[in-house]
Assembly symmetry: C2
Homo-oligomer: 355 residues x 2
């Protein structure tokens, strides 16, 4: 029921995932009428889909902990309880992030030894993917929390990005070990004592350059990094689209008229391909921009898992569309199949033994 396009896009994404993975049982948690209406709109209920009623909805602007307490039986609460009781292997929500974090922490509890849950997000720009943790679950981190984040996000990268030995970096304002505020200085020293593939400090400018697979930071900083990237990417795509359109329009009139006269058969792209090569070019550029927006939209990459809780929980972006939801189902499935909970418990235990 949560997110900017719920329940429509959430239902559509779930149905898409049900087609891709017929072995999954998908539980749609929410107001049955609204959910079933959407299900009917896209061709009816597959046998692998079940609706679990939840009367209340926590709004995007609601205060998380208060809403959980006040709105008993909200879809976030009901879905999380399904994981707690073992009736579901994972839960996914595009709703209120704070409420998901609270539900995960309170209802599922933390895995043995885990000090704080953290939200990991897989960002992409160009050819590189990078997992950033934490992006907002914990905004007063201690060094021990950040070390555990490095471990958990490393296991997530191993599970979902299928990396053998993920490189872990600590987000800082300089590369030297002695740089930064007291939090990162202590964390850097602690990281160097672990068995992680620790690359040392990395600067903001390097996040998108593929020098690390995992970037660790406090949730306040991580949330701002995430949001700044989102805002800047939006602005730049718009700016660039504007620039390209201006260039297209700037072609001298005589050029355009010659081009207009040049009839090109519409071979490769079928249907309404026009005969004007500049129009063709323009259309392809537009399509390329749409696909690029997707490339830099982390929602495409399966949502953001809340790592460290005793269950698989994925928090999808509020503006997730069906494709993003289906992608989150894929990631949740992978996390369950690779038994990430057990690996986190073991690695955190090993860290404590070592200390």
């Amino acid at each position: 029921m949560g997110g900017d396009h719920a329940p429509r896009e959430v239902v559509r994404g779930a149905l898409e995932a049900a087609r891709t993975y017929p072995e999954l049982r998908l539980l749609l948690v929410g107001r049955p009428d609204e959910v079933l209406e959407e299900v009917d709109l896209v061709g009816g209920k597959a046998s692998s889909i079940e609706v679990v009623p939840a009367e209340h909805v926590i709004g995007m602007g609601d205060s998380p902990v208060e809403a959980l307490r006040r709105k008993k039986g909200s879809s976030i609460e009901v879905a999380t309880r399904l994981v707690r009781t073992g009736d579901a292997a994972a839960m996914i929500s595009a709703g209120n992030t704070g409420a998901c974090v609270a539900a995960g922490t309170i209802l599922l509890g933390l895995l043995p030894g885990v000090r704080r849950a953290g939200i990991a997000v897989c960002l992409q720009a160009g050819a590189h993917s990078v997992v950033v943790i934490d992006v907002g679950a914990n905004i007063s981190s201690k060094p021990e929390h950040l070390i555990q984040y490095g471990i958990m996000a490393g296991l997530y990268a191993r599970s979902v990005l299928r990396l053998e030995n993920p490189r872990v970096g600590l987000l800082n304002i300089g590369e030297e070990n002695e740089k930064g505020n007291s939090l990162v200085k202590s964390t850097n020293a602690m990281f160097r004592k672990t068995r992680l593939n620790f690359q040392g400090n990395i600067e903001g400018v390097e996040i998108f350059r593929g020098v690390c697979d995992v970037v660790v930071c406090d949730g306040f900083v991580g949330n701002i990094v995430l949001k700044v990237s989102e805002g800047l990417a939006e602005q730049l795509v718009d700016l660039i689209r504007g620039t390209v359109e201006q260039v297209l329009r700037s072609l001298p009139a005589r050029a355009t008229s010659v081009l207009e006269g040049a009839a090109i058969p519409a071979v490769t792209f079928g249907e309404s391909e026009s005969s004007d090569p500049v129009a063709l070019l323009e259309r392809r550029l537009r399509a390329a921009f749409v696909s690029m927006r997707e490339k830099i939209d982390y929602a495409e990459y399966g949502g953001a898992p809340l790592l460290g809780v005793n269950g698989v929980m994925i928090i999808a972006h509020g503006r997730s569309d069906a494709k993003a939801i289906a992608s989150a189902v894929r990631v949740a499935k992978r996390m369950v199949e690779t038994d990430i909970k057990r690996h986190i418990t073991e690695e955190i235990h090993a860290l404590m033994e070592q200390a």
Copy 2:
């Protein structure tokens, strides 16, 4: 002598500024031989240019305070002392940022009432400019520091961006007053009691949307925002350039051959404009990308002033070219002319009176 392209680009930028503002006296501080060699290369010394010898150079990787102490007579130290003695009205360096901050703080001292100096940077994406303060001078800010940053950067925006009543926002992970870590919560409450045009908290996604003219944050967060933006912008421009080139190359061969045959007179852009409209388009797109890279490169916007010290000091990006240096001269000139030091002193005094 500092920065990636010193002394060449610094000297060229200074000479460019000398031509634009013949009323200025420009002092080039550094190793006379190296500086004069560059001056000769670009046509000799104008009468308004003077070389002030400084034997040592602080490297980009040197530890700031230690380097200042050890390398007596470095160009950064000598230039800062010229401001201290009144022999210069402002100093500009593309060198080691930490050394500039240390020199500014130690040699110039803070203005009366100012608790910490802060680096302000003017970022731009699309149509909007925004001043972000602090981007790395002070990585353990207290609420009082952030309030003073809001005041100082507001005066900077008034001086350089010529805004009457700049809108000030506090960078946070949510808009509501009660959001964020303890630093921003206390700062938000204090800001609301000032006479500043305070807009409340702003999220990372809004920085580039033009909702505020000044964005205040701790230097650790600000530095990371700055570097992440720089890295992401680089990646995206490359990604987009790649996309556009791929689209251009994807034009069907028959389209290209028809286009190749279409002779267009090179009317508007002179010289080597080819007769192939796709090549023309490609060239214009490339030019547009270059100009776009400049648009999103804050170095174009006159460097970053260290606000709060008793003198005008501008720290330019290490990779500054001549144009960026000339632009920093323009900004320094404007800051001196509008007597920003006096305004900062008065406003900080008024704030203390009010408290």
